[in-house]
Amino acid sequence: MLFAQTLILAAEDKEGSGLDLLLPATNELIAGIIAFAIVFFFIRLWAWPAIERSLEQRQQAIAGQLEDAEKAKAEAESLLQDYKKQMEEARAKGAEIIEEARATAEKLKADILEKANAEASQIVAKAREEAEAERARVLAEARQEVANLSIDLAERVVGEALDRETQLGLVQRYLAELEQM
């Protein structure tokens, strides 16, 4: 009861019909005009420029970021191109080096082979020369032996000593004649 009555507050002095509700109260109208004017001019003069500014900043930031990204992309692209080019060059150079090495090796091989061949033929020639010389020496020795044997034989046949010097010359001459035949 008491609580209900505290909710129910004392009536104001004004007696009116429901129509009053549809007529603006002067004090509220004036308050409304002033309050809305303050709000409008606050927005028009401060808030709206701030909103536009913040929007513009954001736009610029986004545009700047996009531009940066574009730039970075172009840079990466050119870098990639560079790398590709370098790679290509390196590959070409590598191939060239391998080719060169192969050529050098080939040449070296040829040289070594040639040298070896030459050496071999030299050795063969030397060996042949030596063999020739040996043969000549052996031949000369044999000739000497034959001459001595012939003289010995002849002495035995004749039964006396012969003039060795003269006979040797004779045999030698004869052998030389034989060789020439």
């Binding site: 104001e12 603006p24 927005i43």
Partner: protein, 264 residues
């Protein structure tokens, strides 16, 4: 608040009817001409400015949650209402529409704000003033855009047969210059009045019934139903208050648009 007839006895009449409906809207605190409605009107203005001030005091590239929320609201009014309805030149009217929307929105939300519980837009002064202001804005916009031809276009939309011109002229004149501001004001006002009346009656009578249980017995249990229904309508009023603020702003934009583009 319900104002009591002093001899009303809750034990007998169940609910005390106010002496007249005005008493639901007359607030008791009053210093000279400054009553609670006047204070709330200035409080609404203050809240709108405070919200904008704190959102855009130091705008950041990556907005704070608060700034992002206000940004979304502002972007909605600018892009969907100002530019969306009026067209590219609507950006000029965006500050006005934003002021309108935020002021009406806060004024409406007072209806369901605990401890305030009183929508300043349920007093005809505010909707009437704002509707007349919109009227002035769209008439001035029409005259500035089309000169005096605005009134011709206003009376006779393009393509009206000559024979119908007197009739159409009268209808258009009344509809544009009288019905528009009137309906704009009354729509907002009536919605908020209805909401406020429903909430006050259901919540207060609910509390009154429940409080009277010791005296009136089981009859007082109805109070729970009234109070519950009041809470349900409270949620519904949240939708209504936001929607009415939006509709008021949207229609203002539409009226400005028709002044700028008579062909539509």
């Amino acid at each position: 608040m319900i104002l009591a007839v002093p001899e009303c006895n809750v034990a007998e009449v169940t609910i005390c009817a106010p002496a007249n409906v005005n008493e639901l809207f007359e607030l008791p605190v009053r210093i000279g001409q400054i009553n609670r409605t006047v204070l709330l009107i200035f409080l609404a203005a203050f809240i709108v400015m405070a919200v904008l001030y704190f959102a855009y005091r130091r705008p950041r590239l990556v907005p704070s949650k608060f700034q992002a929320a206000v940004d979304a609201l502002v972007a909605f009014i600018r892009d969907e209402v100002a530019v969306g309805i009026i067209g590219p030149e609507g950006i000029k009217y965006a500050p006005y529409l934003l002021a309108l929307f935020l002021f009406v929105l806060v004024g409406n939300l007072f209806e369901i704000t605990p401890l305030v519980n009183f929508p300043i837009t349920s007093r005809i002064a505010l909707p009437a003033f704002l509707a007349i202001l919109t009227w002035v804005v769209f008439v001035v916009a029409g005259i500035r855009k089309q000169g005096l031809a605005y009134f011709g276009h206003l009376l006779w939309p393009p393509g009206v047969p000559t024979a119908l011109k007197p009739l159409v002229g009268v209808i258009e004149l009344v509809s544009t210059l009288l019905v528009r501001p009137f309906s704009l004001a009354v729509r907002l006002f009536a919605n908020l009045v209805a909401g406020h009346v429903m909430l006050v009656l259901l919540l207060v009578s609910g509390v009154a019934f429940i409080a009277a249980i010791p005296e009136v017995g089981a009859k007082g249990l109805f109070g729970f139903a009234w109070f519950g229904l009041g809470l349900a309508i409270w949620v519904f009023e949240l939708l209504v208050t936001v929607l009415q603020a939006y509709i008021f702003t949207l229609l203002s934009a539409v009226y400005i648009q028709t002044s700028l583009h008579p062909e539509h």
